[in-house]
Every structure is written in structure tokens, then in C-alpha cells.
């Protein structure tokens, strides 16, 4: 499913989106398939499927540990694309990974494999627009969205450049720092959102762990919230994982309406 179509559909129903992150292969391929299903059942509208990298510099300890577990269990790009193709839940899938894995496979081939396995968008946290020409070209060829990030320190000029190159949605990093669940939603969320002048859907991520924060982010004007580490924490606990993923997804999605 295309990301654009998903947002159009949500808009028609007056809904906001929950974008859920899981690390592919943590702790196994089969488990990831089940977890994605549970998240979608709970209300996730888009799933970010992380392709683990050995040196994930933009991620905090939670996702680094998940990446290590997945790599230890044998995850690699070949298996990743098979997994993506086998996911039948009716939501757009987004690949999140680091540039060396894409570069190594060949940019063109990587994006082609994404398209062929039903992935609608790609996020590469260590690829700023200045270095993204090859990716943008391949994404255009294969009709895959290239999703870029903006942050509290991104100035207006850069933002405009980013908005003109990106598609799918804009990933708004709500605060300085790496990924990881926090108890508070940074004040800077509102400030950044105020600066984000684009027709693309605005998705806010980094540090959102529960329904209350998600509701605050939506109230501040976001079209979507991105939740990663809070789900990954449930997965790493290995305790009632599917039920709890579904519940947290439902809590967040349901929380959008209550402020």
C-alpha cells in the first residue's frame, strides 16, 4: 500500500496515524511477522521495519540492543526482503536502515528489492539530502518514497530543501538526541511543528512512549506519531509480547481522540 493512499484514507475518516517501528529479526523472522500483525491489529497504520546495522549511530541503547539481537539471530538484507514480502497486513511498510547496507547492495538494487517486496518508503538516518542523489533517483524509478528527517536545529533554508526532495511523510525529530522512550514530550515539539511548512504529512518521532504523549503531539498539530523504543522494550521483555504490543498500539491510537 502506498503511504500517500494511507494518509488520504485516514484524512477521509478524520483519523491520525500511528507509525510503529520494529527491528526485523528481533528475536526471529517468524516473531517479527507476528509482532507486525499484532501492531496492526492494535491500530498501527504504517509499520517501519528496521533492517539492523552493526553500528546504528542515530539510535539509542534500546534499538542498538535490538539490532544486535537480530544480527546475532542471523538477520541480513536477503532474509529481510523475504520477510517484508511475506507480511500481508494491509498497511504500508517503511524500511529504516543505515546507508552502508544500501550502498553495499547497490543503491539501485536495494531500492528495487524494496519495491519488489512491497516496501513503500525508505528512511536512512545517516543520509542527509546532500548525499541522497543516488537514492532519490532510484526511489523515483521504482516509485518508492524517500522519507527525510527534520530536527529542532534544522533551519528554514534546509527545511525547504528537504520538503522539496522528500515524499511519503516528513519525519520530525521532536528533540535533540537519539531514539529512546522518554517520559516527557519535549517543548521543542511545538516549536518544530510550527516551523514545518509542508503539504506532506507531519510525523513526529523520538521519545514517544505512551498514549498521553501521543495525544499531546497530535494536539500540537502532527498528522502522525512514530513510536519505536516503547514497542522494542516490550519485545525485549519476551513477556506476553503480542498482547502487549497490541494493547500499547491501541492505547496510543485511541489516545489521539482524548486530550
Amino acid at each position: 500500500m502506498k503511504i500517500e493512499d494511507k494518509f488520504r484514507q485516514l484524512k477521509k475518516n478524520n483519523e491520525k496515524a500511528l507509525i510503529a517501528y520494529v527491528c526485523a529479526g528481533d528475536p526471529s523472522v517468524d516473531a517479527t511477522r507476528e509482532y507486525v500483525h499484532a501492531l496492526v491489529k492494535g491500530g498501527a497504520d504504517i509499520v517501519e521495519l528496521g533492517l539492523p546495522f552493526s553500528d546504528p549511530v542515530a539510535d539509542g541503547p534500546t534499538i542498538q540492543a535490538a539490532s544486535d539481537r537480530a544480527l546475532e539471530a542471523g538477520m541480513n538484507p536477503d532474509i529481510y526482503f523475504e520477510l517484508a514480502a511475506s507480511i500481508k497486513d494491509p498497511v504500508p511498510l517503511v524500511c529504516m536502515t543505515y546507508y552502508n547496507l544500501i550502498f553495499r547492495r547497490g543503491v539501485e538494487k536495494f531500492v528495487k528489492d524494496c519495491a519488489a517486496s512491497g516496501i513503500s518508503g525508505i528512511i536512512v538516518p545517516d543520509l542527509p539530502i546532500e548525499e541522497a542523489e543516488d537514492m532519490l533517483k532510484a526511489c523515483k524509478t521504482h516509485d518508492v518514497d524517500m522519507i527525510f528527517m527534520v530536527t529542532p536545529v534544522t533551519d528554514k533554508g534546509r527545511m525547504q530543501k528537504i520538503f522539496s526532495k522528500g515524499s511519503g511523510f516528513i519525519y520530525i525529530v521532536s528533540r535533540l538526541g537519539v531514539t529512546g522512550a522518554r517520559d516527557d514530550v519535549a517543548e521543542s515539539t511545538k516549536e518544530v511543528l510550527a516551523k514545518v511548512n509542508t503539504s506532506l504529512p507531519k510525523a513526529v518521532g523520538f521519545g514517544i512512549s505512551g498514549g498521553k504523549q501521543a495525544a499531546q503531539v497530535i494536539a500540537a498539530g502532527a498528522d502522525a506519531v512514530i513510536v519505536g523504543s516503547a514497542f522494542v522494550n516490550i519485545i525485549s521483555s519476551q513477556n506476553n509480547v503480542e498482547r502487549r504490543l497490541e494493547e500499547l498500539a491501541r492505547e496510543i491510537k485511541f489516545g489521539f481522540g482524548i486530550q
Binding site: 542515530a58 544486535d68 552502508n100 550502498f103 542527509p128 536545529v153 538526541g177
Partner: protein, 399 residues
């Protein structure tokens, strides 16, 4: 060629949140590198605090043994015992001019961390050093040295708990505190402008060599040999000679326990010789990686060379054939270490011992010519424990 590139190598492969900081750093550097007050102050610290210039020493006994005239560039005599301070004092001063209050750095064995601690203490910074938990254990004295100078040392427990993970953690700190913090990278690696800045601050080595060899010999050397992990001492001594194409330049990498891979670990650290193109920690360069692009751990008896990547400019210079990379293994480096101790009364760092080992290895080939300069990048006092432990066999049990 783009300014941030060396051929197809280099670039800025970093999270968006760091782009403004990299741009700010580049602007600050371009401004102050021509500022006479900044340069005067930098020269003051280099001479009065770091102890420059360092001698270009004619190693008579070594020369006699190998039948070629060998000079040692004595970076081991820089304050702190290695070339590292050339860069840290330069970057710390730059950070001060740019109004930053806090310095962060990564360190492997602790040499760069110590040099950062010195510069940080002297110039009044709040200084934090990230160090792999394993390295903290292995290098207790260096941890203590940093702490004595008021630096906070954070042991990093993620990943392999070594240098690569310390860099990742320092990047994370920077991402979180980018407004008041300067990330003081210790080698010619990372995203632009770091490889350029570190090279420029380390080029003082090569500039001095050029002047000293002209005074002593009336001509340029036939070859220059330097060890290369990330490659800061190599780029520093090579850079002023790049245009002098008659001078052969040899970066010597750590061959560790042999050029092979075991599981997720390369048994060596020879990224120029055996690495493949990829993106690591902000730059396109040559790296040790598996077929999917996952980064391999590296191996070397010398902590300062034990790194899975190499500076992008070195990758470029190797690509166009201007430098000729080679490697020596742990045992060859140790043999050269002992030889210099005995023949010249100088205890070299294990890193620098790789450069010395290459001279030993190549002396008979005639490849090095009649006048050779070796960068003695650091002193070996820090390595004594390692050397004592390794007396005998180095790679047993590893392969």
C-alpha cells in the same frame, strides 16, 4: 571535486541533526585558520605547551644496520608522548574561539583521550571522554591520567565495548548536546570537515620534516613511512609532500594476526589494503565489512591501529596510486619495537613500531631509497604491559 570529497571518498553521511553543527564547524574553521590572532595563539601552544618543533633524528645505528640513511621524526617527544596533542590543542582552541564550553572525545587506548584531557584542562573546558568498557579495563593508567586532569571518562558497554562503540556513543552525546559542545575527533576520519581539520593540524609534522631535511641533507627524502590506523600521523607527515611526486609515501597498516576474517572479526586492521568501499561513521572510505555491509571488528596488538576504517583522503590517495599501503603483522611490529629499544635507546609506541617494521621488511628491496624518514608517532611507555604479556607468541589461540 566537491570540497567535502577526496575523489569519490569522504562526504557527510550523518544524521540530519548534525548537519548544522558540521556547517558551523566548517565556517568557524575557514574563518579562524586565516585569523592571525588564532594562528599566533596556536603557534604559542604548539611551541610552549606541546614542545614543538620535534627533532628529526638521524638513527645512526638503525641506518648502519639497514644500509640506508634513516631519520626518525620524533613525535614521541611531544607533550603527552605522541602526535595526538597537535590536533587536540588545535581543535580545542578552535572550539574556544567558536564559543563552545564542552569538549567530548572518543578514545581507544586512551592516547587521544589523554591528549584531549590535556588540551581541555589547559583551555578550561568541561571535558568528557567516551571509552569502551574493555579498553577502560585494559588501560587503567590512561583512565587515571585523564581523571587527574579533570576529565570525566564514561565506559561504553554497547557493542564490542571498544573504540568503534566509543565513537558511536560520542556521536550520540553530540547529537544531544550539539549547541554547546565540540566533538573533538582524534583522527582524519568521520564526516567533512573533520578529515581536513585533523590533517591540517597534524600537517605541522610534515612541514617541520620538510624544513629539517633540507637543512640536514639539502634534499627531500626518497621515502616517508608512517603507520596508519585512522591515519592522522600518516596524513600529517604526508600532506606537505603530496605534490613532491619523487617522494614515495608508505602508510603501514596493522596486519594483526593475518589478512583473514573469522566470524564477525577481521584478524587485522588493514582497511587500505584489504578493506572495501563503504560508509562508516560519516564518511565514504575503505572499511572492513562483510558481504552485506555489516562492520567487522578489527584486530591489532596496537590499540591505536585497531580500527575498522581509515581516513577518506588516505583511501583516495591509495586509489590514485600516490601512496602505497602495506601492512606488517603483530610479530613483525614487536620485533621492530625491541630492535629500536636496543639499537637507539628509544622505546617506540607499538603503533609506530609498525612503520619501523616496514623499514626492516623493505630495507633490502631498494624500494625505500637512500634517504628514509619514519614517523615515530609516539613513545612506547604505555605499551610496556602489553609487550611484557606478549613475550613470545602473539597470535596463538586467536586464529
Amino acid at each position: 571535486m566537491q570540497k567535502s570529497r577526496y575523489g569519490r571518498f569522504g562526504g557527510q553521511f550523518v544524521p540530519e541533526v548534525l548537519m548544522p553543527a558540521l556547517n558551523e564547524l566548517e565556517e568557524g574553521y575557514e574563518r579562524y585558520k586565516q585569523d592571525t590572532k588564532f594562528l599566533r595563539e596556536l603557534n604559542y601552544y604548539l611551541s610552549e605547551f606541546a614542545g614543538r618543533s620535534t627533532p628529526l633524528y638521524h638513527a645512526r645505528n638503525l641506518s648502519k644496520k639497514y644500509g640506508t640513511k634513516i631519520y626518525l621524526k620524533r613525535e614521541d617527544l611531544v607533550h603527552g608522548g605522541a602526535h595526538k596533542l597537535n590536533n587536540t590543542i588545535g581543535q580545542a582552541l578552535l572550539a574556544k574561539y567558536m564559543g563552545k564550553k564542552r569538549l567530548i572525545a572518543e578514545t581507544g587506548a586512551g592516547q587521544h583521550g589523554t591528549a584531549t584531557a590535556m588540551a581541555g584542562a589547559n583551555l578550561g573546558f568541561d571535558t568528557v571522554v567516551y571509552m569502551g568498557a574493555k579498553d577502560v579495563e585494559r588501560q587503567k593508567m590512561n583512565v587515571y591520567r585523564m581523571q587527574l586532569m579533570g576529565t570525566k571518562v564514561y565506559p561504553v558497554r554497547s557493542g564490542s565495548m571498544t573504540l568503534k562503540d566509543a565513537i558511536n556513543e560520542a556521536l550520540r552525546d553530540w547529537v544531544s548536546n550539539v549547541q554547546n559542545t565540540h566533538y573533538l575527533i582524534g583522527s582524519v576520519v568521520g564526516p567533512h570537515p573533520y578529515p581536513m581539520i585533523v590533517r591540517d593540524f597534524q600537517s605541522v609534522i610534515g612541514k617541520e620534516v620538510k624544513q629539517q631535511i633540507m637543512e640536514k641533507e639539502g634534499r627531500l627524502p626518497d621515502s616517508i613511512v608512517a603507520c596508519a590506523g585512522g591515519g592522522s600521523n600518516a596524513m600529517g607527515i604526508f600532506h606537505p609532500f603530496i605534490a613532491d611526486t619523487d617522494v614515495k609515501l608508505f602508510p603501514v597498516e596493522a596486519g594483526g594476526c593475518g589478512i583473514q576474517v573469522k566470524g564477525r572479526t577481521a584478524m587485522h586492521s588493514a582497511s587500505l589494503g584489504a578493506g572495501e568501499e563503504g560508509i562508516l561513521q560519516g564518511a565514504r572510505t575503505l572499511i572492513l565489512q562483510d558481504k552485506y555491509g555489516q562492520i567487522l571488528e578489527s584486530t591489532s596488538v596496537s590499540a591505536g591501529l585497531d580500527y575498522s576504517g581509515v581516513g577518506p583522503e588516505l583511501a583516495y590517495l591509495a586509489d590514485i596510486g600516490r601512496i602505497k599501503p602495506d601492512s606488517v603483522n603483530d610479530q613483525e611490529a614487536l620485533d621492530a619495537f625491541h630492535e629500536l629499544c636496543r639499537l637507539e635507546g628509544i622505546i617506540p609506541a607499538l603503533e609506530s613500531s609498525h612503520a619501523l617494521a616496514y623499514v626492516r621488511k623493505m630495507a633490502d628491496s631498494g624500494e625505500l631509497g637512500d634517504l628514509v624518514v619514519v614517523c615515530l608517532s609516539g613513545r612506547g611507555d604505555k605499551d610496556l604491559e602489553t609487550v611484557v604479556k606478549l613475550k613470545g607468541v602473539t597470535c596463538e589461540g586467536k586464529i
